[in-house]
Symmetry: C2
Subunit: 201 residues, 2 copies
């Protein structure tokens, strides 16, 4: 990594942290320049435009999520252990992220009526997550751990909803049972796809 | 209703519509004055402060939701028909609300780290919805339509998560299968609490 790339990377980390606090729409070249105490022209040199900055931040945040939640789960045995590891890391991620909360949840409501490349990228990252979740389910089906008729896409959709529910209940409602509720919902989803012939994990 | 009250009510309807577009945080006395083409002092006379305006808008939006989604369901027979009517009205509500989307979903991420009376009121409305959902489940248990061991609070939590998932999948992802996915998730929740001795609706 050259020096210019290194500087850009350091600034990008700060831009991600800023976006968690102010939202993706609040992430302007000017706000970032103030945050890192550098000139706006320096920021333009590194990122080109507000939109390019927002795209870079979304990609960096998606890579962070994959590194923290998806990749470690892939080291676990296929099927239920892998899905449970993923959910545990995801919950930890939602529980600990203060201040700011989840950039993807926030951006989803911020951008849902703002067509353009940033919204498109956000949708793309969500579709990739759906695809990763469905792939994990299909891996468990291939190994005989999940039922042959398990609907991997439905599971991905259901699990994402459960995690949105966790985020809401934990953060806004500060419900002390948020995690227990989520664990039960996940148990129900897993019970529905578990191969009856298989010993539970 | 006196003339002053009537005027306030008309302005409040416009304030709710404005909040759907700009979010609860964007709902200032100045923005509302511009929207209704009246003076800021007139707005202060009707609402007192930005915070009082935000509280009035939250209450009005909660009443709208109750009127559109909860109250009509209560006319249906207890148990599954009542829950299905509620879900159908809720989905219609999420599908049709453009522009702006759901004020409660937006406000949840806007306010989750802003302690104060507006956040408290938002939490209160969510808890009331949880309680209404749980009450509907318990009504079905009392009538023998749902299992005696059905966990009404868990059902309320699960159903809210499913509806958040619908909102996300329909609005951000524009997934044409969003409704079908949601219907299947609701079927699964209902199947888990249905009394085995009961004929399905």
């Amino acid at each position: 990594m050259g020096r210019g790339e290194h500087t850009r990377d350091v600034i990008l980390r700060q831009a991600v942290a800023l976006a968690y606090r102010v939202g993706l729409e609040g992430l302007t070249i000017g706000a970032l320049a103030t945050e890192v105490e550098m000139s706006k022209s320096g920021m333009y040199a590194h990122f080109g435009s507000k939109q390019a900055l927002q795209l870079a931040v979304l990609d960096a945040a998606a890579a962070d999520f994959a590194r923290a939640v998806v990749v470690p789960a892939l080291r676990e045995p296929r099927g239920e252990p892998r899905l449970r590891a993923l959910v545990a890391a995801w919950i930890a991620c939602g529980r600990e992220r203060r201040p700011g909360g989840c950039l993807f949840v926030k951006a989803s409501t911020e951008l849902d009526e703002r067509p353009g490349p940033v919204r498109d990228r956000l949708v793309e990252h969500h579709r990739e997550l759906d695809a990763s979740l469905a792939r994990i389910v299909r891996g468990g089906v291939a190994d005989g751990r999940f039922r042959p008729d398990a609907d991997a896409e439905q599971f991905a959709s259901d699990l994402y909803a459960v995690m949105l529910g966790f985020y809401h209940r934990h953060r806004l409602l500060a419900d002390p049972r948020a995690e227990a509720r989520t664990a039960r919902a996940v148990d129900t989803l897993l019970a529905a796809i578990r191969n009856p012939g298989e010993v539970t994990a």
